[in-house]
Symmetry: C2
């Protein structure tokens, strides 16, 4: 379901990089844009072409689906199903949200000290922290610059300016979320509601922004834009909580995750925060001891934590939380004013399928 | 000359921060926006109000002067001289370029490992690298977000979108310049022309952008916009070369700089790059030995370097290079189509005074 737009997005992304990189006559900058291409999985660390995992392109796909659902543009009953030229109008924005997402990943990897992403060395481990900070900044600049391609593709100036404003507000929100996330690592008093607020900013905001921007390019109807934005926010939160659930209860087969991997890593995700709020005094002490000990966590301690999660009914809580957000997502989709076009209907169907995919983790 | 707009800019900057910081209901974020306020010199490291050096506000001042020179907006012959309400139209853009500049400083300090800026500890030394990277990103987001205030102040959507595009292209250019600057540190083969290209991006681009944005808000006449942009680029380069000159030949009284400070620091600025290209073989060897030695540079070695600069006529070269750019700046100002208003005439006069100030270093 998510594959339909991947080729268009990938082509537009590469064209965006090619345009700025070749626009520069300074050959010394080849290596600079090479770092961006490396991060995007197109070249290896020697800057030779390769095909590594390009990521899910989830945000730009969501943007294009929202654009289609909202009515797309320039489509007639006679448009051939194979004719995707109507996507041009929205593609610069799709490129923009994907580059925005990737700029945050480059900086997150430095901030978290992560040495690997998608099974490859992170940018800072190859080129050092100074260059990686700066190349991240450049990708942020490029993300913003790419957006203005919408002006060449028929989007009116006032809408383009509002797209910029939505994206910028979102980046500010993502940085707020990352501030909270970093500061939570040092604190022992994080509540469930603080965590939900944090993931709303750090993770869900860009999903909401993507859906909202796509809708804004497809229609001027504020009701449609708002509902698709609500949809994006809801699946953004749901997506993160699904990750949190799988981080504790996924079997090894599912998504290649280790069973209870997040417990081994003592990650402060939803399950542990819920358990800390609902454990009896004795279990609470056990959890605190295990999560604060200097030594690495042992397998028997992981079993202890999982047993406490049973007593606090943490898994059921997370599943029901996930289900609520999936329900909110369905509700938002159902409330999108009907546009009579096969493209819109198909896009709404694809978005429902996205929710179903996420929802599966609730069962 | 540069003081006239400082109060308006300072007020608008503080209002921008206040709006986003108070818009957030999460009190945990107070410390986050506190880091931004610290960097801007408004609070101390405990986040208590203070009045430290706020910086020169050069770029926003340039933006407002270009706006005035290009004809400002809504001014009539009856406008009182004390009525500065016409500035509102351009102030969000002025805030935007100042925050953009400051975001680059926050990241530069990390990348260069600098522990002090304006006689205070840099952000990363107080809050750590991860938070400082992220707060820099947030300030970048805020810089972009602030720009959209122009839409509320009467600027048309299509112009606002083009302002965004100019700013984004510029950020990309600044990051390119910083990439080159960082990579130059490790290389021994930097030519004068590579250096000029680098400062054009790293330093001059945002000055050109500021002048161009101001002009775009004041007029739709492309000739005026282009000429004011050229002015900004020219004084941007001149400003950096002035710094390079003072870094070597300033007396202790001038600007509080140490005599030959840049030689002590072995900074790869214009003088040394010029000397390396024009020294005789023996002097070249001496320069290379001194600039590559592990040990700290001694006073007598500094004298040796200065003597070589004499023989290569490096100071005269830098002065003439500076003068050329000042001449280009005057020429651009003279070519700005005449707008018959006292505000425009005054602004052009202020800009000429800026050039004279920079030019003084050429004599």
């Amino acid at each position: 379901m998510l594959l339909r737009h991947q080729h268009s997005i990938d082509t537009a992304l590469r064209a965006t990089l090619d345009r700025v990189a070749s626009g520069s006559e300074v050959s010394a900058l080849d290596a600079y844009y090479g770092q961006m291409r490396y991060h995007l999985g197109w070249v290896d660390s020697q800057l030779n072409p390769t095909n590594s995992n390009p990521g899910k392109l989830l945000r730009p796909t969501l943007l294009l689906l929202a654009y289609e659902a909202a009515g797309a543009w320039g489509l007639t009953d006679n448009t051939e199903a194979s004719d995707t030229s109507y996507l041009q109008r929205a593609l610069p924005a799709a490129v923009s949200v994907e580059l925005t997402h990737n700029f945050t990943l480059i900086h997150d990897d430095i901030e978290d000290g992560d040495t690997e992403r998608r099974h490859r060395p992170t940018m800072w481990t190859l080129w050092g922290v100074p260059q990686a900070i700066n190349t991240g900044d450049g990708m942020f600049g490029l993300a913003r610059f790419a957006l203005w391609g919408v002006l060449e593709n028929g989007v009116e100036g006032d809408i383009a300016a509002r797209l910029g404003a939505v994206l910028d507000r979102t980046v500010l929100e993502i940085a707020e979320g990352q501030y909270l996330d970093i500061s939570f690592e040092r604190r022992g008093d994080i509540s469930v509601s603080m965590y939900i607020d944090m993931i709303g900013r750090k993770t869900a905001a860009l999903m909401r922004c993507s859906a909202e921007m796509g809708a804004m390019i497809g229609t001027r109807d504020t009701g449609t834009i708002e509902r698709l934005g609500t949809f994006g926010q809801a699946i953004g939160v749901a997506f993160q909580v699904r990750d949190d659930l799988l981080g504790v209860w996924a079997s090894a087969e599912e998504l290649g995750k280790t069973r209870a991997g997040d417990v081994y890593r003592r990650k402060k995700s939803l399950p542990i925060l819920h358990a800390l709020e609902h454990a009896n005094p004795r279990d609470l002490q056990t959890l605190q001891d295990i999560y604060q000990q200097e030594a690495e966590i042992k397998e028997e301690q992981v079993e202890q934590v999982l047993a406490i999660f049973e007593r606090t009914r943490t898994r059921a809580y997370c599943q029901s939380f996930l289900q609520q957000h999936c329900d909110a997502a369905y509700e938002a989709l159902n409330a999108v004013p009907h546009v009579s076009s096969t493209v819109s209907t198909r896009a709404l169907g694809d978005m429902r399928a996205m929710v179903q995919f996420i929802e599966a983790a609730a069962h």
